[in-house]
C-alpha cells in the first residue's frame, strides 16, 4: 500500500533505495548525506532490507565498493557530500567507462576551505563530465522518486551508466516534507531486478577493462557518447511510466512555472526552485512577468528542452549555486551550458549567472527580486553582465535589507 509520510530528503533517499531493493550499500560519514546511511543501516540491522552494508573507509572506497558490486551483478548504492564527493573523483570514470550502473546519493555541501556545513553544488558539479547521470531533486518526494527512476534509467541496456542522484544539503536533505511512499509491489513492477549484461561470473568469464590501442580510446569514449545520445529517449519513457504508475506530473527534463507568458526567467536546479516560485508569485503581483524553468537533469544536459523553455523569455538569470573560478562567465557552470543550448536560436535570450546560494547561504526572496530587477533592466537595455555575485556587486548589493 502506498502511504503518506513526513520525511526529510535523507529519509526519502533511504526509503527510495530500500524500495529499489538495493543489494550492496557502502557508507562513510559526512554531513549532510549521512542521514541516508543512518537510516539504511537501521533498515538492514532490523532485517527490513536484505543488503550488505559495507563500511567504506572513505568515499574513494565507497564508490569502488559500489562499482565492484555492480560489476558482480548486484544493485549498489552509496552516497556522499562535499569534500567526500571530490575525494572519490578517481573512481567516477572507471564506473562510467566500465558501464556499471551503481547509484550515488549526493546531498550537496560546500567544499573547504574553510570548513563550512552549508549546501552548494560545486562538490558534485566538479564531477559532471565523468559520464554519470546527474540531476537534482527539489523535495523529499522527488528524491524518493528520482532514486527509483534513476536505477531504471541507468540500468537500461541502452544506457548502462552510474547515477548521481542529487539533492541540496540541508534545504532538501534535512527539511521534512509530506510525501508519498509507494507500494513495494508497484515499485517492483516499475523497476525490474538488475540484469547486468556482463557480470563477473566464473560460469561465463569475461575480462573487464583490458588495455586498448590508443585509437580505440576514442571508441570507448564514443560508447558513452552514444549512451548519452540515447538516454533522453529512455528518460522520457521512464518518467512517463513513473508518472502513469504513481500519479506524478514530472516533465522529464525541465519543470516550468509560469513560463508561457514570461519576459524573464529564473533558471535553477534543486530546492531553491521553491523559493523562486514564491518570488515569481510576488513579482507577478507587481506586474513583473517572471517565470521559473527548473532543470531536472544536468547530465544529460537537455539541450533542446532547455532551448525550448528559455526561448520563451527575453532574459534568463541562472541561479548557479556552484562556482567556476575563471570560467567563461566568471560565475558558475550552468549559465555557459544554458547559453550554449540557446546559441542556435534566432532570438536568444540574454543569459547571465547569478552567484547565489553559495557556501550554504539561502537564496532569499529579496535576492530573487534583485535578480528580477537586473533581468528587467537587461530586457530594456538589451544587455547584462556575464555574472553577478549576489550581495557583492553594486547591481545586487545588500539584498538582505
Amino acid at each position: 500500500m502506498a502511504k503518506e509520510v513526513f520525511y526529510s530528503g535523507c529519509a526519502a533517499a533511504a526509503y527510495g533505495a530500500k524500495d529499489a531493493r538495493v543489494e550492496v550499500i557502502s557508507s562513510y560519514p559526512i554531513r549532510p548525506y549521512t542521514g541516508i546511511m543512518m537510516e539504511l543501516s537501521k533498515l538492514v540491522a532490523n532485517g527490513e532490507l536484505d543488503a550488505e552494508f559495507v563500511l567504506g573507509e572513505g568515499e574513494h572506497a565507497q564508490v569502488s565498493i559500489a562499482y565492484g558490486a555492480s560489476a558482480a551483478g548486484a544493485r549498489a548504492y552509496t552516497g556522499s557530500s562535499g569534500v567526500g564527493v571530490v575525494y572519490a573523483m578517481e573512481c567516477y570514470s572507471p564506473a562510467a567507462g566500465g558501464r556499471l550502473p551503481c547509484q550515488m546519493a549526493i546531498a550537496d555541501r560546500a567544499l573547504d576551505p574553510p570548513g563550512d556545513f552549508g549546501s552548494e553544488h560545486t562538490d558534485v558539479m566538479s564531477a559532471r563530465d565523468q559520464g554519470w547521470i546527474m540531476g537534482w531533486a527539489e523535495s523529499p518526494q522527488e528524491v524518493y522518486d528520482n532514486t527509483i527512476m534513476y536505477y531504471r534509467i541507468g540500468e537500461d541496456h541502452r544506457v548502462q551508466l552510474p547515477q548521481f542522484c542529487c539533492q541540496d544539503g540541508y534545504f532538501v536533505s534535512h527539511i521534512p516534507g509530506k510525501m508519498q511512499m509507494e507500494d513495494q509491489k508497484a515499485v517492483d513492477d516499475f523497476l525490474p531486478p538488475y540484469n547486468p549484461p556482463h557480470p563477473l561470473n566464473p560460469k561465463k568469464p569475461i575480462n573487464h577493462g583490458p588495455q586498448i590501442f590508443p585509437d580505440q580510446g576514442s571508441a570507448i569514449n564514443v560508447q558513452r557518447a552514444v549512451a548519452f545520445d540515447d538516454i533522453e529517449a529512455v528518460i522520457s519513457e521512464v518518467v512517463t511510466d513513473y508518472n502513469k504508475a504513481f500519479g506524478r506530473k514530472y516533465s522529464p527534463f525541465v519543470d516550468e512555472y509560469m513560463m508561457d507568458d514570461a519576459d524573464i526567467a529564473f533558471f535553477i536546479q534543486g530546492g531553491h526552485a521553491r523559493t523562486a516560485r514564491y518570488a515569481v508569485n510576488h513579482l507577478r503581483k507587481k506586474g513583473v512577468k517572471a517565470g521559473v524553468s527548473r532543470l531536472r537533469f544536468m547530465r544529460p544536459f537537455p539541450t533542446e528542452a532547455v532551448a525550448a523553455s528559455l526561448s520563451k523569455v527575453k532574459a534568463v538569470g541562472v541561479i548557479e549555486t556552484n562556482t567556476s573560478y575563471g570560467g567563461v562567465t566568471r560565475g558558475g557552470n550552468i549559465a555557459p551550458e544554458a547559453r550554449a543550448a540557446c546559441y542556435n536560436l534566432d532570438n536568444r535570450p540574454i543569459i547571465t549567472s547569478f552567484m547565489a546560494g553559495l557556501g550554504g547561504e539561502i537564496v532569499t526572496l529579496n535576492e530573487f527580486y534583485a535578480m528580477a530587477k537586473v533581468l528587467s533592466d537587461a530586457v530594456k537595455s538589451g544587455k547584462a553582465n556575464n555574472s553577478y555575485w549576489m550581495n557583492f556587486e553594486k547591481e545586487v548589493l545588500d539584498t538582505h535589507k
Binding site: L100, I206, G209, A219, I220, Q223
Partner: protein
C-alpha cells in the same frame, strides 16, 4: 537513428568487456620475441616438471599420453629460465637462425 558510425577496426565491446580466453591468448603472440629457443633432449629428460612450473609464459606441458614434455613455440619468449632450471641438463639454448622456421624478424611489433 544514431549519428555515430563506428568503423569495424575501432569497435570495442561495451565497457571493454571481452570474453575470457581459453587455453591461450592468440591476440598476443610472443614467440616472435625470441632470438634463442630451448631445445629438449627427450632421452635425457626426467619429466621432473621444473620447466613446466617455472616458465612464466606457461610454455611447457606434460603430454600425458607420451609422457613427454611439449613446448609451445607460439608463445615462448626465449627467457631461458627453463634451461637454467633443468636439473637433468637436457635443455639447450639454440640460436633461432638454426631452425628453418626460426624467428628472424618481427612481423608485427607485438
Amino acid at each position: 537513428m544514431s549519428r555515430f558510425i563506428i568503423p569495424k577496426h575501432l569497435e570495442v565491446p561495451l565497457g571493454a568487456c571481452l570474453p575470457a580466453p581459453v587455453k591461450e591468448q592468440p591476440g598476443m603472440i610472443t614467440g616472435n620475441w625470441r632470438t634463442e629457443r630451448p631445445v629438449i633432449d627427450h632421452e635425457a629428460c626426467t619429466t621432473c616438471l621444473n620447466c613446466f612450473i617455472y616458465c612464466p609464459d606457461a610454455c611447457w606441458h606434460l603430454d600425458e599420453k607420451t609422457e613427454q614434455m611439449v613446448w609451445n613455440a607460439d608463445y615462448c619468449k626465449g627467457c631461458m629460465i627453463c634451461v637454467n632450471e633443468c636439473p637433468a641438463n637436457c635443455l639447450s639454448t639454440v640460436n633461432e637462425l638454426e631452425f628453418p622456421d626460426g624467428v628472424v624478424r618481427l612481423e608485427k611489433p607485438f
